[in-house]
């Protein structure tokens, strides 16, 4: 009862605060009724989606082999790749982003902010995907691998016909969760001056002076992309016994996928 009252007061309070700050004023929201606004923000969204999509494809291309190499018990690359994945996952994405943008030119490689962003997002996401793939492969009971090997299948065929088809189904919810993280992290490119959705938003409110409203609308646009993805991830995960769930540590979107 007390909690409900407190929450109701909190909600009423925040609405009142927003009201006194003109958050509900018509002139602040008016620009969002113009079609030109949505064309403009749409251009920003296109850049955001281009960053996310390019990074996703590259991350899948790099992350899956990384994870498979790490899961290969006899492979020579197991430990070096494992170390690389752990170090990348222990680093803030923004740190990787700034180091790519400011470090590469020092090595004589000129890179545009857009591509520095794609490189950094790919580096981080592929490490996480590598870990998801490894966890997926490791979740398949050893007995199935031994059974396949004793039936005469070699390592490649055991992987392709027995382990990977099952592992892939278990990995999919985690991969979708990581896609949400990736899409949210495209906004970090704003910090290094790439004109994506947030950057377009800033140009927009510099003109109309409606900062809060614009940030809110941008958040809603991200929400409309990510919410269906998080529903999808949850639906793919539902009904799967806990020991068959794959989620990697240190990622907030993975934690919740495992928890709920």
């Amino acid at each position: 009862m007390f909690g409900r009252l407190a929450a109701a007061l909190l909600l009423a309070g925040s609405v009142a605060l927003l009201y006194t700050n003109g958050f509900f004023q018509e002139d602040k929201w008016g620009p969002f009724l113009e079609p030109s606004t949505w064309r403009f923000l749409g251009e920003g969204l296109a850049v955001t989606l281009a960053i996310g999509f390019t990074s996703l494809i590259l991350s899948l291309l790099i992350g899956i082999p990384l994870g498979m190499a790490r899961a290969d018990l006899k492979g020579p690359l197991r430990y070096p790749i494992g170390g690389y994945i752990e170090l990348v996952r222990a680093t803030p994405i923004l740190a990787i982003l700034l180091i790519t943008l400011l470090g590469l030119p020092r090595l004589g490689v000129d890179i545009e902010p857009f591509w520095a962003g794609v490189v950094a997002l790919t580096m981080y996401t592929s490490a996480v995907l590598g870990e998801i793939v490894r966890a997926g492969i490791d979740s398949i009971p050893r007995g199935e691998v031994e059974a396949a090997r004793s039936l005469g299948l070699d390592y490649r065929h055991t992987m392709r016909r027995v382990v990977l088809p099952q592992a892939l189904a278990r990995m999919t919810p985690a991969i979708v969760s990581q896609l949400i993280t990736l899409i949210k992290d495209t906004s970090l490119l704003f910090i290094i001056g790439v004109q994506e959705l947030v950057g377009y938003g800033r140009s927009f409110f510099n003109f109309y002076g409606n900062l809060l409203e614009t940030y809110f609308v941008i958040a809603v646009i991200f929400f409309l992309i990510n919410y269906p993805l998080s529903r999808l991830s949850r639906r793919l995960e539902s009904g799967r016994p806990p020991d068959e769930r794959v989620a990697v540590s240190g990622e907030e979107d993975q934690v919740v996928a495992r928890a709920s």
Binding site: L98, K184, S187, F190, F223, G250, E252, V255, A259
Partner: protein, 215 residues
């Protein structure tokens, strides 16, 4: 390199990141516990309101939330503060709080409600049943995911630099642009983050294994 590690600004940045993370973790634990209780026991209206909070903050970028909060708290609006560090602490807490809510909620739901009935039958009050029966079991379920969230929080704290709060990464950025213009500040920051995240990750995986056996 040794010059950087002794730089007072760098040390301050490191301590800022530690304080920001610890403060936001504590605050998000408080938020998460409160909201999760409302989410489970608060009735249908509370359930949808708390659900909206969780889903909205989970599915939108932390940077956009921080930018919103900076403007909201600024003198031209609420006039609370123009200190980006306060805004960062607030933003990180509310963002992480949404995740803590989901973790705590799953911890509560992991305990069979019939245990509460059994405890009540044995003469415990509702509060006693929650404190002595539900809580000890729920804590065991939530500790590993909360540890994971703290690792994520350390990494997310770097985004505070996006609103010009002088955390570790932002300090590295400032120092790199000063004489002698070496890249050392970033390399040092990298290792500094690892001194936090790698031991945390190790501790969480250890805890995860121990709690799995204890079950």
């Amino acid at each position: 390199m040794t010059g950087i590690l002794g730089n007072p600004l760098f040390i301050e940045g490191y301590l800022t990141t530690l304080a920001l993370t610890a403060g936001a973790m504590l605050a998000s634990l408080f938020i998460g516990t409160m909201v999760a209780s409302l989410r489970v026991w608060g009735g249908p209206i509370m359930r949808s309101l708390t659900g909206a909070y969780v889903e909205f903050f989970r599915n939108t970028p932390l940077l956009v939330q921080l930018l919103f909060i900076v403007v909201l708290l600024a003198p031209s609006n609420l006039g609370v503060t123009r200190d980006p560090l306060v805004a960062a602490l607030f933003g990180l807490s509310v963002y992480t709080g949404a995740y803590v809510t989901e973790v705590v909620r799953s911890g509560i739901l992991a305990v069979d409600p019939r245990q509460i009935e059994a405890a009540r039958t044995l003469g415990l009050s509702q509060a006693q049943a929650l404190r002595h029966v539900v809580l000890p079991q729920a804590i065991r379920t939530v500790i590993p995911p909360l540890g994971n969230l703290s690792i994520a929080l350390v990494k997310n704290s770097a985004i505070a630099g996006g609103i010009a709060a002088t955390d570790l990464l932002q300090v590295a950025r400032i120092l790199e642009a000063r004489p002698p213009f070496t890249f050392d500040p970033f390399i040092a920051a990298l290792f500094a983050y690892w001194t936090i995240t790698i031991p945390l990750a190790w501790a969480v995986s250890r805890l995860e294994r121990r709690l799995a056996f204890a079950r």
